[in-house]
């Protein structure tokens, strides 16, 4: 991740006039909204929260009791926070976007054999549409999936694959890269599952020597692409990923351009 040098630039939220700072917020508080006194207290509580978020002035435009114990609020107001665009850090794509032909060429040149990809939804997640969109010929957003690439061999294990099965199967297939999808996020399931998966691959690898497990890639609509290290994986793809991006990344990470300096990522390829 590199800080993208943007012209230092301070902006505020915009309602209908430059600098007016207007925003909308909605939330529920566990407070009753029955008697007039309840209502006054509930609205006061909402105003207090709005104030802590930096809304000043704030206006509770809607309050509705939901059952005896909860109240839903809609608040409009002005925040005084400034957004400093120069402080926005933008993750830049570290690899070039390649066409399928270029990817194939690069794999042939850099790897000298087909690149093997094993894909799965792990844990109890059965949302295969996302990983299928990346792997199946049909693809996504008009781009064909990895199966379409002549130099990539795809093994799609489908849904609800147990991590030990994934590790075993990856070894058996000689996987260069393992692509894992996680869509369910309740109770941070996607995080724990990804961590369990990367730990299992590490555990299965010999204790010493160079890295000896496949490139680990996870994806899903609610991942933050900057969390890779925390999950112990090599790369994260978020919502709206296209197959071409994934193929380009695989080529970059596993089939180094002849002449290009090897980097940590590329070593992952060495294991296969």
């Amino acid at each position: 991740m590199t800080a993208n040098p943007v012209t230092a630039n301070i902006v505020r939220p915009y309602g209908d006039t430059t600098g007016d700072g207007r925003i909308q917020v909605s939330f529920t508080l566990p407070v009753p909204y029955g008697t007039p006194a309840d209502k006054a207290r509930a609205e006061g509580a909402a105003m207090q929260l709005a104030g802590k978020m930096g809304l000043e002035p704030a206006m509770v435009v809607h309050a509705k009791g939901m059952g005896p114990d909860y109240t839903f609020f809609i608040v409009y107001g002005r925040v005084s926070h400034l957004v400093d665009l120069s402080q926005v850090t933008v993750t830049e794509r570290e690899f070039p976007l390649l066409s399928p032909a270029e990817v194939n060429l690069r794999i042939r040149a850099g790897l000298g054999r087909k690149l093997v990809v094993v894909g799965a939804c792990i844990g109890t997640d059965a949302h295969t549409v996302g990983i299928d969109a990346i792997l199946n010929v049909k693809g996504h957003s008009g781009e064909k999936g990895l199966e379409y690439y002549r130099e990539i061999r795809v093994v799609n294990l489908g849904s609800q694959v147990a991590v030990p099965d994934l590790v075993a199967r990856s070894a058996a297939e000689g996987a260069d890269a393992v692509l894992v999808s996680q869509v369910v996020t309740q109770r941070e399931a996607h995080i724990t599952n990804a961590q369990e998966m990367s730990a299992a691959f590490r555990a299965a690898a010999p204790e010493s020597g160079p890295r000896n497990w496949p490139l680990l890639v996870v994806g899903g609509p609610r991942f933050d692409p900057s969390m890779a290290a925390g999950l112990g994986v090599d790369k994260i793809f978020g919502k709206g990923t296209t197959p071409g991006e994934v193929a380009s990344y695989l080529a970059y990470a596993l089939a180094p351009d002849s002449g290009a300096a090897a980097d940590a990522d590329q070593e992952a390829g060495a294991s296969a």
Partner: protein, 536 residues
């Protein structure tokens, strides 16, 4: 169009006949009077622009001077051009400056002096009317070159108070599919007895209607029209104490539609009824010439009266507006009669009632480009509920073939629209139009069912009310609070002092030209518009 409501054509004919009977005495009143603003409009058409250092327009200064010295019963034109000739002033502006300085002596000329003044006045005013004609021709040409969007047209309001914030917002809205842009006026303008000058940045909940603001916005939208390949229309308000002048400015600056109602100012701005009826007639003569579509304001009644109880007052007012408009020379394709989706959503079958009302209006005025207004009164701070209600409004609009849909804002109950409110509102109508735009062909009110019965009941109530009004007189009905449950006696309200009985020999070069009819009959968008209206 086949009737879906099985309305009795005889009853419809009767309703129109009663509306004519109710309206005729008012037309007589209008033709027997003029107003200060009508006279200033004549000067504006003749090319008198600008304001003194206090911002008071020269048309006001000149008309006031004339009025003080010889009155306006003969019109402003005769004494003004007479003075121009007599004093040898190079132009109206100089005359106005001198008059303001008390340097000009006015008189009501007779004989050949009168004839000379008249001739000159007609020539000056005709030049202005030629500009209006040219603007109309230009519109027709642009619509021909670019595309004219299909109906329903998406109508959107901008209201920042600052013309320079309005412009990018309007352009953004057009890009996001708005077909008509209305620049709401500042709250105070309707009661001003003059039209402000220049580009303005300081309106409250709206932007002042000025000739320069009109010009700036029209130019911006011309640019956007070309960018988008479709003609984006511009609207403002010919309303308030300066209705005739604003109508003239709209014609000169090629606005495409104007809010212009025969009773709105009376009910909602407490402007004197007589003043209003006189002003609206002249305004409509100008709109007729300029090829401007008017929008009437029946929707407003439903914000003060109950939309179910008062549904028939909308229809009655539409029939009156139609009568007055046709009488003033507007054609059917120019009658953007207004109505609204304002029933309390808590009323059972509220959507069916709305459909009944909207379909009724559609069938009563098959050739008119109806303007359908979104919910406002029952829009609360619950923006989600509001977004939903707006969607059903949009749906009712497409199901009943409304021509112009004003797009509701989910934040209607809170503030004048944010940029994002408008963007979301446009997403809303685009979804409804694209997904359900053709649902009308499968909307067939059950014969004798709830919708048909309701429509018939409203029509029946309308006929009954029109009969009462034609008997007791329209001014009496207004005084009794018939419309928008607001009582407005004929001698109350603002602007009565601007009403002047025409003297024998009253001369108004603008009226003469306008009443003589369009020189250029061709090139108007009438055909395309009425075709679109009728075919849907």
């Amino acid at each position: 169009m086949k009737s879906k409501l099985n309305l009795d054509p005889e009853k419809v004919r009767l309703a129109r006949e009663l509306a004519r009977r109710a309206g005729e005495p008012v037309t007589e009143l209008a033709t027997a009077h003029t107003t200060a603003s009508i006279e200033r409009a004549v000067l504006r058409i003749a090319g008198l622009d600008g304001a003194d250092q206090d911002g008071m327009p020269w048309v006001n200064r000149l008309a006031d001077a004339v009025r003080e010295s010889v009155g306006l019963a003969h019109g402003v034109a005769l004494p003004a051009w007479d003075a121009l000739v007599a004093g040898g002033y190079p132009d109206l502006r100089t005359l106005a400056e001198q008059a303001a300085a008390g340097q000009v002596k006015f008189r009501i000329p007779g004989g050949s002096e009168a004839a000379a003044a008249r001739e000159l006045a007609v020539r000056s005013v005709a030049a202005g009317v030629a500009t209006i004609d040219a603007q109309r021709a230009r519109r027709t040409r642009m619509i021909g070159d670019l595309a004219d969007p299909p109906q329903p047209w998406i109508y959107l309001i901008v209201a920042t108070g600052d013309i320079y914030e309005d412009i990018p917002q309007a352009q953004a809205a057009a890009r996001e599919s708005a077909d008509v842009i209305a620049v709401i006026r500042s709250t105070g303008q309707s009661l001003l007895d003059y039209v402000p000058e220049g580009a303005t940045r300081e309106g409250y909940a709206g932007t002042y209607a000025t000739r320069e603001n009109f010009r700036l916005m029209r130019a911006a939208l011309d640019e956007t029209s070309r960018e988008l390949g479709r003609y984006v229309r511009l609207t403002n308000y010919a309303s308030g104490l300066c209705m005739p002048e604003i109508a003239a400015l709209a014609g000169l600056e090629r606005l495409d539609m104007m809010l212009n109602d025969c009773m709105y100012g009376i009910i909602f701005r407490d402007i004197n009824p007589v003043r209003t009826f006189i002003d609206q007639r002249f305004s409509r003569q100008v709109h007729a010439r300029a090829g401007i579509v008017i929008n009437t304001g029946e929707d407003n009644y439903l914000t003060t009266a109950d939309p179910v109880d008062a549904a028939h007052t909308v229809v009655v007012s539409q029939l009156l507006n139609e009568y007055f408009a046709l009488e003033a020379g507007l054609e059917t394709w120019q009658l953007g009669l207004g109505h609204a989706f304002e029933i309390n959503p808590a009323v059972p079958d509220s959507f069916l009632l709305e459909l009944a009302h909207a379909q009724l209006v559609r069938e009563l005025f098959p050739g008119a480009p109806l303007k359908y207004m979104p919910p406002t009164k029952h829009m609360t701070g619950n923006v989600f509920a509001g977004y939903l209600l707006d969607a059903f409004f949009n749906l009712c609009g497409v199901m009943t073939d409304q021509s112009i849909l004003l797009i509701g804002m989910m934040t209607e109950g809170i503030h004048t629209p944010f940029l994002s409110d408008r963007d979301l509102a446009l997403e809303n109508v685009r979804y409804v139009r694209d997904a359900a735009g053709r649902l009308g062909e499968s909307f067939v009110p059950a014969p004798g069912g709830f919708i048909e019965q309701r429509a018939k009941q409203v029509l029946g109530d309308s006929v009954a009310l029109l009969r009462r009004i034609s008997e007791e007189g329209l001014l009496t009905a207004i005084a009794a609070g018939t419309f928008g449950i607001t009582r407005r006696p004929a001698d109350g309200g603002r602007g009565l002092d601007g009403v002047i009985s025409r003297a024998d020999g009253y001369f108004n070069p603008a009226s003469e030209i306008l009443e003589a009819g369009t020189g250029d009959a061709g090139g108007e968008p009438a055909a395309s518009l009425s075709e679109t209206g009728a075919s849907r």
